[in-house]
């Protein structure tokens, strides 16, 4: 479904990604794990077109997208929940969700999806008229995921959904991620520092170190890998 071929991305003169090769198949959950500053978020930003790669190609369903602008990429069905959630602070919860469906014109479909996310996260329905900036961290994460779902993505990019959340909330969110993957058949690309948790929900995983992919394998195999265990799983 998504394929990165020798992608290299720069911030000014600093190279953040070195020849990344990566593949995501339809319907699976893959995860990218790595330390702080390894380039995980940059990978997602490159896919979304916010920081376009300088070299290499990104293909989505066989079509090159690395030269498209960010809004065109969203239109193709790639949605990102960025790190830090980026809720529009002055818009209400309902308006935030509405922004998620910015590119859609089918009112009925939007209403249906709104219902769907409200059933996923009932708390959002309760808070729908509050400004997004007033929500707690966990609620904001739920809102961010819901907002992305409102675009009916085929591929959902999740950047550090567990960051700054209590373990209980984190578990709940990961539960929902799996549920979305199952119910909506949404492909999920999960970037996570909490490798333990990520590898539990994912089908496959990649390990990123200082801008280079060092290992990739089935999630189970990765969890069994000694190096991965030592470096990322704290075993």
């Amino acid at each position: 479904m998504l394929e990165l071929r020798k992608v290299s991305t720069y911030y000014g003169n600093i190279q953040a990604l070195h020849d990344i090769d990566l593949k995501v198949e339809e319907g699976e959950i893959i995860t990218l794990i790595g330390a702080n500053g390894a380039g995980k978020s940059t990978t997602l930003m490159s896919i979304s077109g916010i920081v376009p790669p300088k070299r290499g190609e990104i293909l989505f369903r066989g079509r090159p997208i690395h030269e498209l602008s960010a809004d065109r990429i969203v239109a193709l069905g790639i949605c990102q929940v960025p790190e830090g959630r980026h809720i529009f602070p002055d818009l209400t919860v309902a308006e935030n969700l509405d922004m998620g469906a910015f590119l859609r014109r089918d009112r009925r479909g939007i209403a249906r999806d709104l219902d769907y996310v409200y059933t996923l996260f009932p708390i959002l329905r309760k808070r729908r008229n509050q400004p997004g900036g007033n929500l707690s961290g966990g609620e904001q994460q739920m809102l961010a995921i819901s907002r992305a779902l409102m675009a009916r993505p085929r591929l959902l990019l999740l950047d550090e959904p567990s960051m700054g959340l209590a373990p209980l909330v984190t578990r709940q969110i990961f539960e929902i991620i799996r549920q979305i993957n199952r119910e909506q058949n949404t492909t999920i690309f999960l970037v996570e520092q909490n490798a333990n948790l990520a590898l539990k929900v994912a089908d496959r995983g990649y390990v990123l170190e200082t801008g280079r992919i060092t290992i990739h394998d089935r999630a189970g195999a990765l969890r069994a890998n000694r190096d991965v265990q030592k470096a990322y799983l704290g075993i």
Binding site: K6, N13, K54, R55, G56
Partner: protein, 405 residues
């Protein structure tokens, strides 16, 4: 190299500009006598001009793009980062020492080579060098956008004019007083406003500059109002009477000494403890506070020191023109000094010097095109920002190498 598509695009752009400039360039009306003057030839110039400009720009970009594409496809190895000539000149002592010596020699014998008029212009340019270096502390180094810098300049100029008028104080006495007075004003203004965010700070300083000018303009009893103060004595030299030529030459060397002194002090400041605090403050305020840098005090020092130079140059300005009035201290002046700092490359001393010389001398020598002077000036600012935002000479901080690697 230029494809048919580019020519098509150029045509569209030319059409756009023709349409855009149509009412202002082509039509000229006299609403009283009800006359319309059609100037169709202007349309041709606009169209042709934008067409050629676009193609030229395109051709220039093309070369870069082709290289970029080859790099993307991996056909060509990335070129090693070339050090630009300007940086090589500054960094390599083998090159810059003789250059510096030649420059110093040139400036030393300048009044001997050129007429009094040229020397006079050069004094003005040197004054702007010091002003630029002063503002550079505030804007370039500490990152505080000050749009009312001219107020401190005015404080210095009026300090000399008034102290001389009422108490007969001489140039040399007032020079430090003017500087200190301006610095005091800097602190007075700084206290309440420095906690404001960047753009608010900008507008408040702009307002402050205007307030100072308006007070000078309206408070007749104090400042003699818009008619200003005349007959301010030129700097004395042990009481010797000097002819105009000599006093200008004298002022020139005085200014050179001032510039050297400023460069010396500013350079030492930048690499001092407080200088590092300024740079750090520019980059990240919160991190600075976390590291125990006293934010307010550091900012105030920057403000006061910047104002200090403006005050001193103000005194020299009053002595040079022998006349001050509020019209010399408008916002445009602040804008020009700011442009010097930015064009020079924020925080770079050499850059500021070059920018001041270019920005002040060029318009003087382009007097023949004086009508187009400000137009070109504005355009140059935009073009510089778009194509070389880091300024003529990008600032290089002293790097400290630590043993590893």
């Amino acid at each position: 190299m230029i494809s048919l598509k580019d020519i098509g695009k150029a045509c569209i752009i030319a059409l756009w500009f023709v349409a855009l400039t149509f009412p202002l360039m082509v039509i000229k009306v006299n609403p009283i006598d009800r006359i319309i003057i059609w100037r169709w030839h202007n349309m041709l110039w606009v169209g042709l001009g934008s067409f050629l400009c676009y193609l030229a720009g395109r051709a220039w970009l093309m070369r870069r793009e082709i290289r970029l594409r080859r790099i993307r496809q991996g056909l060509e190895a990335e070129l090693p980062q070339r050090t630009p000539l300007s940086r090589r000149i500054i960094q390599d002592p083998v090159i810059h020492r003789p250059l510096l010596a030649a420059g110093a020699l040139f400036f030393l014998i300048f009044p001997l080579l050129f007429s009094t008029y040229q020397t006079n212009i050069m004094i003005t340019a040197l004054m702007y060098v010091v002003l630029g270096l002063g503002l550079n502390i505030v804007v370039g180094v500490a990152g505080l956008l000050d749009l009312g810098y001219v107020a401190f300049y005015a404080v210095g100029a009026y300090a000399y004019a008034l102290l001389n008028l009422h108490f007969g104080l001489g140039f040399w006495t007032v020079l430090p007083i003017g500087g200190l007075l301006a610095a005091t004003f800097g602190i007075l203004l700084g206290f309440p406003v420095l906690r404001l965010r960047g753009d608010y700070l900008a507008i408040v300083t702009l307002g402050f500059g205007e307030i100072i000018r308006l007070i000078l303009e309206n408070w007749n009893e104090f400042s003699h109002g818009p008619s200003g103060i005349s007959n301010i004595p030129r700097p004395g030299f042990f009481g010797i009477q000097m002819s105009l030529d000599h006093s200008i030459t004298y002022l020139y060397y005085l200014m050179i000494a001032m510039v050297v002194f400023t460069i010396f002090v500013v350079n030492r400041l930048q690499n001092s403890r407080i200088g590092r605090a300024w740079f750090a403050l520019r980059e990240d305020e919160i991190a600075c506070q976390a590291m125990g840098i006293d934010k307010t005090r550091t900012k105030l020092t920057a403000f006061a020191l910047g104002a200090f130079w403006a005050g001193m140059v103000g005194v020299i300005f009053a002595a040079k023109t022998t006349f001050v009035n509020p019209a010399s201290f408008t916002f445009l002046e602040s804008a020009i000094i700011l442009c010097i700092v930015v064009l020079g490359g924020m925080g770079s001393i050499v850059g500021v010097i070059i920018a001041a010389l270019v920005l002040i001398l060029l318009p003087e020598y382009l007097r023949a095109f004086s009508e187009y002077r400000m137009l070109v000036f504005g355009a140059v600012l935009v073009i510089m920002m778009v194509f070389r935002p880091q300024g003529i000479i990008a600032n290089i901080r002293k790097t400290y190498r630590i043993g590893i690697d």
